[in-house]
Symmetry: C2
Subunit: 339 residues, 2 copies
DNA sequence: CAGCATGATGTAAACGTTTACATGCGGGCA
DNA sequence: TGCCCGCATGTAAACGTTTACATCATGCTG
């Protein structure tokens, strides 16, 4: 077994209590003793056992992150944001991803009991019931991009609504009138909010035009199919706003197969600003979402909730910024931040 | 405080020992008692406290993953692979990323003491000294894409050498003769191995040609600069093999600015098969690396080392597959796997 | 019917910390 | 000089488990 606090105490010729006090920076220990203890500790390469400490302090210094089946940049950025905020506070990050159903999330939540001081949850499948039954009563929780009615939990979301509103407004301002929207999967929080932003902007800015919502599921494939289907519409839209970049890119390929020029024949916009967006041709106009910010802010709010230091606002949103590229045919203008 | 084993014992009218035995599936408990205990446990929503259990069993059921500052798909896939393998074995994953120096890695390694049963380390900065001083003596460890001489640690790498060899071979077979290589950052394991593969293949297959290694650091920007610099070469290469896709893409943009057609004037190949690779024009020929595989295999080997079940081979490599697209001007052929 | 083996259950120690409380020492004040 | 106060240090309990060992009942054997 490795070196424990007792070994250090013996080496320094003091009691374990003094070692604990000295190493945790308590005041009531003389400089001389403290030094002897610190010397002994570093000589023996002593590191306190986390489990033992957690057991008595009821703190694990660990945050659990329960995430859905995420890919690419989104996932990376999210973890990067959470990790940097965690490290800044001396917290560890326990990651559990790829959850496809509410019951899987529930399982994980239960196994987290006693291992974490709080959890960050992102899940399209989360619902109030599942959380109530599987979340240890007093465990601080922050929901990310996850809608659970009842206002019981702290939450943090991308400003999907504002972003979609801004994008629609941008297209309207540049003269587009028949703006179609390619939606996301059913019951998806992001997708629903983006659709709502599109609808509201349209209703407000072009009350005469009715919304044109085309089917999609966030996949490139679905964007492609929908793009091809544009051929058969009697009145073709002059702009297409896809609920995410992958669909916009799929749509772009479809349009080029149909011989339609973007943006001359039809403008195109996406949402997310994935790295590929600037590499397609023409480069894609889109909304940039600061995912790492969401991760780090979520962690920060969770940490505050754990400390009980401040009573943070229940819900908060992370702004997006409009990134204008050539696919929308609108001349360059500075990025616009929402929220 | 939440419900403990004592509460369950009281509710079921038995001792804590019986509860522990029943819930851990030991044999010596009658069906009747077991049932009573299980009922009480689920009625009270009892979940054992991980810290307490770890303290006594000396097992945390947790794996630490110490990673460098990673981005995009690579990072996502790696974690995905580790996470799925971990979950399959009932293990948790403690992630700590974005380490920029050996001392940072050392710090993290020390704070992991008593929190994990083993660690997965990927770090360009890792060296034998740092590991020796910061790694608790008997902590099972698997190194990923990290070269530490001495053969003390289990390790797992992408077959960078084989992949680069294969790619070079592919270009040679299709008639290219002056094949330049854009290198990666200094002291980078992946970059060095890829360079070595390129050199060896060239020496073997085209002994008359000498290698032409151009500077790069894995960034798109550096690929772009190097691409522009091709203009000034007296004898222009007929193919460029970049040590990663981002540089290949940067180079592609530079070439198009120079008015050079890919692949007609000059062929281009990359390494990694990042998602963008198929979206640039022309789509990029590259080596696909199965990163998720590396993550899950690393975790699996670590788990075996922890169990002591098998004595796994010290080093192992994950193969790559050649993905031929239009940028190399070579007609389509089936994917070729290395290793 | 007595004694013993077997197997279920209980008791208590142990894991490595932190911390409330006890102890004892030195110095300041009367 | 004697007392008390404050402060450094030590002692031991507590955290929630697992598990070696003790105990006890039961049924079988001789």
């Amino acid at each position: 077994m490795s070196v424990t606090i007792k070994d250090v105490a013996r080496a320094a010729g003091v009691s374990v209590a003094s070692v604990s006090r000295a190493l945790n920076g308590h005041e009531n220990v003389t400089g001389e003793t403290r030094k002897r203890i610190e010397d002994a500790a570093s000589r023996l390469r002593y590191m306190p056992n986390g489990a033992a400490r957690s057991l008595i302090t009821q703190r694990t210094q660990t945050i659990g992150a329960v995430l859905p089946d995420l890919h690419g940049e989104f996932f990376s950025e999210l973890i990067r944001g959470m990790d940097s905020a965690a490290r800044a506070r001396g917290l560890h990050l326990l990651v559990s991803s790829s959850h496809g159903s509410a019951s899987e999330v529930g399982d994980v939540l239960r196994t987290l009991r006693g291992r974490v001081d709080g959890v960050l949850i992102m899940s399209p499948h989360a619902d109030a019931d599942m959380l109530a039954t599987n979340l240890p009563a007093a465990l601080p929780t922050v929901l990310m991009n996850t809608r659970v009615p009842g206002g019981k939990y702290l939450s943090l979301s991308i400003d999907n609504y504002g972003g979609a509103y801004t994008m629609t407004q941008h297209l309207v301002r540049h003269g587009y009138r028949r703006i179609a929207f390619i939606g996301g999967p059913a019951n998806n929080f992001d997708a629903d909010e983006r659709l709502r932003g599109y609808r509201d902007a349209l209703a407000k800015l072009l009350p005469k035009q009715h919304a044109l919502v085309l089917p999609g599921d966030f996949s490139e494939e679905s964007g492609y199919r929908t793009g091809l289907a544009l051929r058969d519409l009697t009145e073709r839209p002059d702009a297409v706003f896809a609920a995410n970049d992958m669909m916009a890119i799929g749509c772009l390929f479809a349009l080029s197969e149909l011989g339609l020029k973007v943006p001359d024949d039809i403008a195109l916009a996406g949402f997310d600003d994935i790295p590929i967006a600037r590499f397609v041709s023409p480069p894609l106009t889109t909304m940039r979402v600061r995912i790492a910010d969401m991760g780090s802010q979520a962690l920060q709010r969770l940490a505050e909730a754990i400390d009980g230091s401040t009573q943070p606002r229940l819900a908060h949103e992370i702004g997006c910024s409009l990134v204008v590229r050539q696919s929308s045919g609108t001349h360059a203008e500075p990025h616009t931040d929402t929220s």
